[in-house]
Assembly symmetry: C2
Amino acid sequence: MKEGPDIAQIGALIGDPARANMLSALMGGRALTATELAGAAGITLQTASSHLSKLEAGGLVGQRKQGRHRYFALLDDEVGLLLEGLMGFAASRGFLRARPGPKDPALRKARVCYNHLAGDFGVRMLDRMVADGHVAIDGDEASLTKSGEERMRQLGIDMDALHDQRRPVCRTCLDWSERRSHLAGSLGEALLSRFIDRGWARRSNESRAIHFTRAGERAFCDLFPLPEPLPAPLSHGE
Amino acid sequence: MKEGPDIAQIGALIGDPARANMLSALMGGRALTATELAGAAGITLQTASSHLSKLEAGGLVGQRKQGRHRYFALLDDEVGLLLEGLMGFAASRGFLRARPGPKDPALRKARVCYNHLAGDFGVRMLDRMVADGHVAIDGDEASLTKSGEERMRQLGIDMDALHDQRRPVCRTCLDWSERRSHLAGSLGEALLSRFIDRGWARRSNESRAIHFTRAGERAFCDLFPLPEPLPAPLSHGE
DNA sequence: TTCATACTTCGACGATAATCGAAGCATCGC
DNA sequence: GCGATGCTTCGATTATCGTCGAAGTATGAA
């Protein structure tokens, strides 16, 4: 037998639909209870408990007990990165699950991808930053420019703190609904936090969707106007 | 049910040990026949055929027919990237398969990780380049410096061609045997090719190992000396 | 043309793992 | 203390899927 990492174990953990659903739910970035995860996966609580135990043993999730509640979350950034990659890959191969009925516009418009903004708004934000010369894209690589650094500081982003972190400030993450990149990395996370702290947007309680307030959406669109005027108004999307 | 990428399908494809073994074998960067892959996975040819059909349908491998031989390879760079990430992740979670008996020194010393040099030599190379100021590491990000650019050109690397490519010139890839990064990206690939073209090293026919000739090893070690003198001579390792 | 080799397809078998009802334990609120 | 709620554990069931022997097709070499 071959020496090396046992990718089959990781694959098998993710390869069960119920477990995949739970991991996807946790990509919303919030800790969820076992009951909530069972609901997200459409299975009973006892089955969810069994699955979560496996995910925990495999180092994909961790739990925190609060009284009778068990809050599960992705164990660390590495898991988030791995799942991001898997999502982008699955989408690139055409493995997409379509909900019967109309597509979920809320998820497509704005949602959390582990810790940063994804969806139409996420892609729009990166596109704007690139068009303004704040972010430079070289192939799959993204880097913040000097002017971008300045701009982010104006927006109240603590750039010193971001530079102190081990991970990249800017990273591209393939958006499964838009099929283009949105901004990940420490800056991506900081920006989403900023929008939420400012009250522009809030997290949905039921899904990974990010709901912008009317004022917040206006502010966001002012900050990141579309690179080109489109005949269809963006705000038409409820 | 949730809308979004179906990561369970990808997970399940990789989650079977036989399929995982074949994918790992293909990380050696060479196209292999169905018979070779069956041998690598320790299964019969008919089982391998069935598995390869699934991997192909899933967009992970592609095949090229040459007479009666079917050569299978990873479908594209995206697959390589995904598997690299999975390998690093599996190793980080402790999912390692140990061969009964002594560890495989050849794989640990130098092997192919999809298209670039990995193992002790791979890590050593990156460390040297960092110590010489040719590659700058910022968290997980790697970039070639001006002096590094110059140095690579001196080594005969066509840097213009590398810059024309879509992917990063330098990328870190977590080495599962050394638990540190080796150099991936277009430069990582170009360097491995260079060593092989110069006759310093050759690919093993049986595994992902890279065998350096005596002269090639000397040249490699001259080019990338250890950052610090160690009491144990590196060349002691057969 | 014949034989050997590489590979695909079919179908039966059996091992595995997800599933859930039932039961039990821990915590919370009245 | 009691009932409700959140969660874990146990055990039986069953669907799924990997496996391989057998048979067939395609290619190469003598």
